[in-house]
């Protein structure tokens, strides 16, 4: 279970998150939505300890990770898989080496076993036979799939997605959404997706959290959020620009 309590984070003088709190149950699938720059990715990185809050607690299975040092965090991070916005593939390695990275570092397997697991995971993300390709040869959608394969090969309990469909065309975005659902259902993982793509949020989230003005502004099922009459939620869901922002 993931629990965030009273989280506050500033970069310099700029407050990004203020008194943020929520719970995510095991096996639950949650979409965190919000405008660009609202602090969604910053919040996601706090869940895995990549950023330290100014104040507040982040509990993973009841264990507060905020006071932990980098070494202690490494142990907790084995529970996580994370797909980065840019996929963050290691560009000096092939696809197979990228995908096998976590296995090679943390599990003592034979090369044959690693090869079998890599092939199986690439098959799961619909990229069979791409083991020997370099990241530079891949399209944006393929890079995300490889990034996801790398994140799930060691079968984590929680998978975090940072803007999984940003920069992809609607058809590829749809296939990534399906993949997120496939991973969730096959591996029975807790899923947290940060997105500003309403379609992704609706499809993959059993619950939607909306980040606005540095706080969790709305928290409900996709239907509750998408049918909300609250003007702030409505504006975001409908994708209507703030009239004041259109002034010259």
């Amino acid at each position: 279970m993931i629990e965030v309590r009273n989280l506050q984070k500033s970069f310099g003088a700029q407050l990004v998150l203020d008194s943020v709190g929520f719970k995510i149950e095991n096996g639950e699938s949650v979409a965190i939505i919000g405008r660009s720059g609202s602090g969604k990715s910053v919040l996601l990185k706090h869940l895995i300890g990549l950023l330290q809050p100014d104040t507040g607690e982040v509990l993973i299975d009841g264990e507060n990770i905020v006071p932990m040092n980098e070494r202690q965090l490494l142990r907790v991070r084995r529970k996580f898989g994370m797909l980065f916005q840019s996929a963050a593939l290691f560009d000096s390695m092939t696809v197979a080496e990228n995908v096998a990275f976590g296995l090679r570092r943390h599990e003592h397997l034979t090369e044959a076993e690693i090869g079998r697991r890599v092939a199986g995971t690439l098959e799961m993300v619909d990229l069979p036979g791409t083991e020997d390709k370099q990241p530079a040869e891949l399209s944006g959608g393929m890079r995300k799939r490889v990034g996801l394969a790398r994140a799930i090969i060691y079968e984590p309990q929680i998978v975090l997605y940072d803007e999984p469909t940003t920069g992809l065309d609607p058809i590829v975005s749809d296939s990534i959404d399906q993949l997120i659902l496939r991973v969730r259902d096959r591996l029975k993982v807790t899923t947290v997706v940060v997105t500003h793509d309403m379609r992704t949020a609706r499809r993959v989230g059993q619950r939607v959290l909306m980040l606005h003005n540095k706080k969790i502004y709305a928290n409900g099922t996709p239907d509750q959020i998408f049918d909300s009459l609250d003007p702030v939620v409505r504006q975001f869901v409908d994708g209507v620009a703030d009239p004041k922002e259109n002034l010259p």
Binding site: K45, I48, G49, L50, E70, R71, L73, L74, R75, R77, R78, F80, G81, M82, F84, Q85, S86, A88, L89, F90, D91, S92, F101, G102, R105, H106, R150, A151
Partner: protein, 260 residues
């Protein structure tokens, strides 16, 4: 105004020195616990050691040759031609060998380390490492640091040898110095301690290059400009540190060796 800015700069420089020391401590702890992989270490030894050879050998050969020519021009006035190679040898062993090797490797390898790690930071690859439960110090810093400590002394030996051979070639073939006396004087005036001092210096400079290169990469500002600046600073800071450290190491090691 000036003193405020100067004091800020001194504070920033001291803070940076502290950070590099902490990085060195973390790397040492990681090394002692054996968290680095042999595969990564061997690749880095190949990259730092094998691939730097042409650069440092050319540097060593031409430095030995020009040093021989210059020494001869001065010593010839006092009929001391046959001690030319002794000067080349002592200078190459204790000063020029380690310093020139380190400066060339700082330019080639220190810059590459800062650029590679800096790019990894900018493209979230460092965060990806951490998310994959891998400490960037174990994976990126330790293999580079150990490889530089191993490769620099080996490269320095090559530079010393090629420098002396270059000096010998110029002395005998271009300056017509009697080879037997030339060689005998070199052996007479070059002591084991000169070579030991040179190798200790090279070992230390390897650490300086790797630590500064890795630190600059891991702390670079985001964006292409940040990576460029980190790369430049890695080379400049490493080179300056090597030149300043060389002076103090010469004093300290010279004293230590004389006591033994």
């Amino acid at each position: 105004m000036f003193s405020l800015s100067a004091s800020k700069r001194v504070t920033a420089a001291l803070a940076e020195l502290g950070q590099i020391t902490l990085l060195a401590r973390e790397a040492a702890a990681s090394l002692l616990k054996g968290r680095a992989s042999w595969r990564d270490l061997l690749y880095q030894i190949y990259f730092i050691g094998v691939q730097s050879q042409s650069v440092v050998l050319i540097t060593g050969a031409f430095t030995g040759m020009v040093l021989a020519a210059q020494t001869y021009l001065q010593f010839h006035k006092f009929k001391m031609d046959t001690t030319t190679l002794a000067v080349v040898s002592v200078a190459m062993c204790s000063e020029l060998g380690p310093v020139l090797t380190a400066l060339m490797v700082a330019g080639r390898v220190g810059a590459a380390m800062a650029a590679e790690i800096g790019t990894m930071r900018v493209t979230e690859q460092i965060d990806a490492l951490r998310a994959l439960a891998t400490d960037p110090v174990d994976y990126l810093v330790v293999p580079r640091l150990v490889a530089a400590h191993v490769a620099l002394p080996l490269l320095t030996v090559e530079v010393i040898v090629i420098g002396i051979l270059g000096g010998y070639f110029v002395s005998v073939n271009l300056l017509d110095i009697e080879p037997t006396y030339l060689w005998a004087n070199m052996l007479k005036y070059t002591h084991e301690s000169d070579l030991i001092i040179g190798l200790i210096k090279a070992f230390i400079y390897g650490g300086v290059i790797a630590l500064i290169g890795c630190y600059k990469g891991m702390t670079c500002r985001l964006g292409a400009e940040g990576v460029g600046q980190a790369t430049t600073e890695a080379v400049v800071y490493a080179s300056i540190t090597i030149l300043i450290a060389n002076f103090f190491l010469t004093l300290v090691l010279g004293k230590l060796v004389s006591l033994l």
